[in-house]
């Protein structure tokens, strides 16, 4: 076999291998895109319940920061001055529910921010701190419950 032919054959082999590699990469990319768009692979899942849930959870993009009856729908935060500052700073690491289920004075909201900065990697809030703390202390202030509250929100039903 001449040197030229040998070179041609080697080149062909390299060429084939490259095509193979590209095919594999292409398949991988297609799979990755699909996984990104549909991580639950719901198109392959006939479970109707799962599909319903997926649809229910879809928030239309135009409604991303929708406010209804004074509540920021996506997070559950009360509408007031500083709302978006709170949303942007307080919900990237933890759930908004971590905030909205709590009630604290201004002093204790500040102490909570310090605790998160010392132990949970919360950043320096700069000028936003006052905006956030004022918003929280006003809208999520403690209510006095006494030593034992009445039973509330009782759903009455007939027991036979």
């Amino acid at each position: 076999m001449s040197k030229e032919n040998k070179f041609k054959n080697q080149a062909k082999q390299v060429y084939r291998m490259l095509i193979m590699v590209w095919c594999v990469v292409l398949l991988g990319v297609v799979f990755a895109i699909y996984a990104l768009v549909d991580p639950n692979f719901s198109a392959f899942n006939t479970d109707e319940e799962l599909q319903t849930v997926v649809i229910e959870n879809t928030i239309e993009e135009g409604d991303w920061d929708k406010i209804e009856n004074g509540i920021h729908i996506r997070t559950g935060f009360v509408e007031d001055d500083g709302l978006m500052t709170v949303v942007n700073n307080c919900t990237s690491c933890h759930s908004a529910k971590m905030v909205t289920q709590n009630r604290m004075t201004k002093e204790r909201w500040i102490a909570t921010i310090r605790w998160m900065q010392e132990t949970q990697n919360l950043w320096d809030l700069g000028n936003n701190e006052e905006i956030i703390v004022n918003y929280l202390a006003k809208n999520y202030a403690p209510k006095s419950m006494g030593r034992r509250a009445n039973l509330e929100n009782i759903e009455w039903y007939q027991l036979n």
Partner: protein
């Protein structure tokens, strides 16, 4: 939007307007964890979900009614063939690792029903309010756990006389996604670690431990704050001092050494670690809000538990504690399991009633009717549970 997902959306221009990619949608916890639809989600990042009293009516708590308290983000893509438990620390003879199959074959297996209650169960009632997940009554469970005794593993590894405390390590990640931070790494003193019932468990209610409860391996320390029962367990350090992992330091899972007034500031040095949980009970049947006809008996039932101790007396009151009546109380199926009680109640006249339940432990300590000693983090509220009843 691409910035939020952290990747370009290929074919993004072909995506329908108003369509939100699944990567941004929250997953439904009821489907994700197979939960009863009445479970209450307190927090979704990390997941914190509690039961309602009537959901806990089963003698052995099933997965669908079991509270979830996560501090971090559970591990994904678990390969159980590669999962190991590593025992290390200052007080081991030598560091040693076990695969799951080694743990299962090398040590004798035991099954116990173990009460696990979150230290903050009942936090929502403290006044002034305490920071954290606002648990009401449902952060307690008593499932059946199967595994090997931690003491058998530690015996096989070899422990030095200097051992004081164990601390667990796990495969979950910190919610800040910082790989150098553990979300939680707590533990117990050697005396608790070496109890017969302290298990390294791989089964709950006869099946693999559910994902939310620590699959494939969980340390289970019944009767102590649930935070000592480390989920997704992959390491245990035998320490020659009190373990100093995440959430071991004050004020986490600690209460004041001496009683304090509501709202009082407490220095970290004046706080002590919570160990055994206090005496407590729940009326799990009927559900609060029952209306019955006058002259009809109301059958109530529920569970009582007392941390390391046994409950010896169970009572109910329909007159806000003026008089108490005894309930029938069963013995626990094993130490650290909750005990079942029941009673039949006759109401003297029509009207609104509250049925209050009160357990008393073997040391003659009973549940208070009022919310007990205020503490900065809102732990250990073991006040009597009550349900509303109307007689017509």
């Amino acid at each position: 939007m691409a910035g939020i997902i952290g990747a370009d959306i290929v074919f993004g221009s072909k995506m329908p307007v108003n369509y939100q990619p699944l990567a941004l949608q929250e997953t439904d916890p009821f489907t994700l964890f197979n939960l009863d639809k009445e479970m209450v989600v307190l927090n979704d990042k990390p997941w914190n979900i509690e039961a309602k009293a009537h959901l806990l009516d089963e003698k052995v708590t099933s997965n669908k009614n079991m509270f979830i308290r996560n501090n971090g983000i559970p591990p994904e893509n678990i390969d159980i063939s590669k999962w190991t438990l590593t025992i290390d620390g200052e007080s081991v003879q030598q560091k040693k690792s076990y695969t799951l199959s080694e743990l299962k074959s090398k040590f004798k297996q035991y099954t116990y029903q173990l009460t696990i209650e979150c230290g903050g169960n009942g936090r929502s009632e403290f006044n002034p309010p305490a920071k954290g997940n606002q648990w009401t009554v449902g952060a307690v469970s008593c499932a059946s756990w199967t595994g090997v005794r931690l003491k058998d593993i530690l015996d096989d590894v070899g422990i030095k006389d200097s051992a004081i405390y164990i601390g667990y390590h796990a495969a979950d990640s910190h919610i800040s996604r910082n790989p150098n931070k553990e979300p939680i790494s707590r533990g117990v003193p050697m005396s608790k670690a070496l109890q017969d019932e302290t298990l390294v468990a791989f089964k709950m209610n006869g099946k693999d431990v559910p994902a939310a409860h620590g699959y494939p391996l969980r340390l289970v320390c019944g009767g102590w704050p649930a935070s000592t029962s480390g989920k997704w367990l992959n390491g245990i350090s035998v320490r020659n001092k009190e373990h100093d992992g995440a959430k071991m330091k004050a004020p986490a899972y600690r209460v004041p050494k001496n009683p304090v007034a509501p709202g009082e500031k407490v220095k970290d040095v004046d706080m002590k670690i919570i160990e055994s949980m206090p005496v407590k009970s729940l009326i799990t049947y009927p559900k609060s809000g029952a209306m019955i006809d006058l002259g009809k008996k109301l059958n109530i039932r529920g569970h009582a538990w007392a941390g390391e101790l046994e409950v010896v007396k169970m009572e109910f009151s329909i007159d806000f504690g003026a008089t108490w009546n005894t309930c029938t109380l069963e013995k626990p199926v094993n130490r650290l399991a909750w005990q079942h009680f029941n009673a039949a109640i006759t109401f003297p006249e029509k009207g609104y009633y509250e049925v209050w339940a009160r357990a008393t432990d073997v040391n003659n300590v009973a549940q208070p009717m009022l919310v007990p000693g205020w503490n900065p983090k809102g732990y250990l509220n073991n006040a009597c549970h009550r349900i509303a009843v109307k007689v017509k």
